[in-house]
């Protein structure tokens, strides 16, 4: 959170200025005020157990939602899906670059690395498809995240098993909390819709389900990484803090750009 708020303080004056040209091709900062009501998507990391489970989520009705989503809701989904795609891009790259050095030294980790990688690749293509379908632009920082994630994967891979696992632990803590926050927001919408007696709609139900499934898989990765000695990494504290603040910064930027 520190990094995010520090960044925010530094950039706020610049962000206030309305971008003169189409905010469609250029990243837009001007809408941040209107999103305030949902705070940041990264704030929550409550345990999934406390999560409400609205009944309509399990309803089999294929009815469509009649009332359009509000502008704020659409904006929230727009940036949420963009961040998710960027995150999964990074995840696939991290595992890709860690795999070789790690499995060479620890052949027993090959199935685990492969399992985690293929889940990330699945997440990535899920969000790619969502971006195409819902006409969400990818983050403008795409090349930057590509380079950063590859480097992170490569460096922690070279540092050895514990560092690689500490990297996974740190990343998945942030990502898991991030998905958790999104799931909570969507569930609060669902609750609101139920209270008003509105049809939730297939689209929303599917989205909540997908996010929950992916969130659970990320948290599995987290447990597996801890099981493989993430906490034994030296210097654990520094690595953990460094990577986690990197994730927070990247999420914050990708929500906007």
């Amino acid at each position: 959170m520190n990094t995010a708020s520090a960044l925010r303080a530094v950039y706020r004056p610049a962000l206030r200025q309305q971008s003169p040209i189409c905010d469609f091709l250029l990243p837009s900062f001007s809408h941040s005020q209107s999103r305030k009501q949902y705070a940041s998507v990264t704030t929550s990391s409550a345990s999934p157990k406390t999560e409400p489970a609205p009944e309509t989520l399990n309803s089999q009705s294929a009815a469509k939602r009649r009332r359009p989503l509000s502008k704020e809701q659409q904006q929230f989904l727009d940036s949420a899906l963009r961040v998710n795609q960027a995150g999964e891009l990074a995840a696939t790259l991290i595992y890709t670059h860690q795999t070789l050095p790690i499995t060479r030294l620890h052949p027993h980790l090959r199935p685990l690395m492969h399992h985690m990688y293929s889940q990330e690749a699945g997440h990535f293509s899920t969000f790619n498809a969502m971006l195409i379908r819902h006409r969400v632009r990818p983050t403008a920082m795409y090349p930057v995240w590509t380079a950063a994630a590859s480097t992170l994967g490569w460096v922690t891979g070279l540092m050895g098993r514990e560092a690689a696992m500490a990297c996974t632990e740190a990343v998945e803590t942030e990502i898991g909390g991030h998905y958790n926050g999104q799931v909570r927001v969507l569930l609060s919408w669902v609750k609101e819709m139920e209270e008003k007696g509105e049809e939730v709609g297939e689209e929303m139900r599917e989205l909540v389900d997908t996010l929950k499934r992916i969130r659970d898989e990320e948290l599995e990765h987290l447990d597996e990484a801890v099981g493989e000695g993430a906490k034994e990494a030296r210097p654990y504290e520094l690595l953990n803090r460094l990577i986690r603040s990197g994730c927070k910064g990247a999420i914050w930027i990708s929500e906007k750009v």
């Binding site: 189409c22 905010d23 819902h134 006409r135 689209e203």
Partner: protein
């Protein structure tokens, strides 16, 4: 004056296309998008557009349009951007019209380039009835006050082409593709204003040529990236084969 009051309420714009462009949003399939113009607004502007061939993109066309729609001349005051609102109306409605009979992306999924060409051509041909007045519109579009709206509309058009053509690109080339296509379309539109050929075949050739050139450049850019990646990969492999663990 008294009569213009109800107009005020009726003309309350439903859209954000006026001066402050709205943001692009998550696109849901579960409901219709709200129409970009309020009914009255739409009636006056479409009537005004039909007077453009004779009056040009000018206040006169707007006044005629208001009269046709049964409003007083004074109601044109409700279009603060004056004749530009006719230009904008034309751009927005023609962009949205593209979706109505877009090429089916299912059976032609592998030919996105051809789909783009078809869509761009269809959009260019929608300018036919007013092409002799289009340079006036371009003058309005490029005045500093309207430039943000114009560029945004161009960007939205470019996005519409790619979306309807079935583009599945969500990497960093998303931006370059859209910018490149916008430039190509805008130059074809300008070319068309001086095209005297029958049924604008020269414009069509111009568009086709530009798009083909664009493809080549795109291939080149992609190629450079792939090449750099290959070199880096090769280097890493080479060092690894020398026993260095990287």
């Amino acid at each position: 004056m008294v009569n213009s009051k109800p107009c005020h309420a009726a003309l309350k714009p439903s859209s954000c296309v006026r001066s402050k462009p709205c943001r692009r949003l998550y696109h849901s399939y579960e409901h219709e998008r709200p129409p970009p113009f309020a009914p009255t607004e739409s009636r006056i502007l479409s009537a005004a557009l039909s007077h453009v061939p004779t009056h040009g993109f000018a206040t006169a066309a707007l006044i005629q349009g208001a009269r046709d729609a049964g409003y007083l001349d004074v109601s044109t005051n409700l279009f603060p951007t004056g004749p530009f609102s006719i230009v904008n109306y034309h751009l927005v409605t023609q962009r949205l019209a593209l979706a109505k009979d877009a090429p089916s992306t299912n059976d032609t999924a592998n030919n996105i380039s051809e789909n783009i060409r078809t869509l761009a051509l269809r959009r260019l041909h929608a300018n036919k009835p007013i092409i002799h007045r289009w340079q006036e519109a371009l003058a309005l579009l490029t005045t500093p006050a309207h430039l943000p709206t114009s560029l945004r509309e161009l960007a939205l058009l470019s996005d519409e082409f790619l979306f309807l053509a079935g583009s599945t690109d969500v990497t960093s080339t998303w931006y370059t593709n859209r910018a490149g296509l916008a430039v190509i379309y805008a130059s074809a539109e300008l070319y068309m204003t001086t095209d005297m050929s029958k049924d604008f075949v020269e414009t069509e050739e111009f568009l086709t040529r530009r798009l083909a050139e664009g493809e080549k450049v795109k291939g080149l850019v992609g190629g450079v990236g792939a090449w750099a990646g290959m070199q880096a990969g090769g280097l890493v492999d080479g060092l690894r084969s020398k026993g260095i663990w990287i």
